[in-house]
């Protein structure tokens, strides 16, 4: 598992919880799912993974998607537009 540096984006409640809207983050995990659990240990999002959608480089993706150095990754809490 190689070291990667990604840019994390936080929105709505996740931005308030982390106190950040973006974060440069170094990790050795391979998938966005592993990254979510790693971050959840740090920030305790309090949001079931089944209600969150991951996105890589401004596109929704699967939880098993691989992450690469330089990726821009967002975890999308339940939406409530309209």
């Amino acid at each position: 598992m190689s070291q990667k540096v990604v840019c994390l984006k936080y929105f709505s409640r996740f931005a308030e919880l982390t106190g950040k809207t973006t974060e440069e983050y170094s990790t050795r995990v391979s998938s966005v799912e592993e990254l979510w659990y790693e971050l959840d240990k740090q920030y305790s999002f309090g949001q079931p993974i089944s209600t969150v959608r991951p996105a890589i480089n401004h596109q929704f993706c699967d939880w098993q998607s691989s992450i690469n150095d330089g990726d821009l990754i967002g975890f999308i809490p339940p939406v409530s537009g309209g």
Partner: protein, 143 residues
């Protein structure tokens, strides 16, 4: 024509309606979402809308493309406002035109339902009681 846009200013319905003038269309249907003063028996004072702009524009455009592909309509536009909104403000506007009314009604309903379900936009409600607020959808008090 199809269009999805996020704006941080008051939505001008008249200028939007004028875009739908089309001699081939006998039907125009619009939906307006307004800020109401109550939710779950609590008095709402105002709202704040936030988006993930790049992803919201991708998803919003996809919704509009699906509306055109799945219904016999000519044009569809959706505008969603972001930022701080007061009671009575328009948060979202959807317009659809078609040769006949059935397709226009159905497509308009499809657009607002899908925008609400899948586009990364979040609403924070501020309440009159106890200076409290919460992000809708996450159900965790955040202030």
């Amino acid at each position: 024509m199809h269009h999805f846009e996020l704006v941080d200013y008051e939505i001008d319905r008249q200028s939007l309606v004028e875009k739908f003038s089309d001699p081939a269309c006998g039907a125009f249907v619009s939906f307006e979402g307004w800020v109401r003063n109550h939710h779950d028996n609590r008095q709402v004072s105002h709202l704040f809308y936030e988006a993930y702009p790049e992803l919201a524009l991708n998803e919003g455009l996809s919704v509009m493309q699906q509306a055109l592909a799945n219904y016999n309509i000519n044009s569809a536009i959706c505008i969603h406002r972001l930022g701080s909104l007061q009671i009575g403000d328009m948060a979202v506007w959807v317009g659809v035109n078609a040769a006949h009314r059935d397709a226009a009604f159905q497509a308009c309903r499809f657009v607002i339902d899908d925008i609400k379900a899948r586009v990364p936009i979040w609403k924070k409600e501020f309440y009159q009681d106890a200076n409290s607020a919460q992000w809708i959808g996450s159900e965790v008090n955040s202030l």
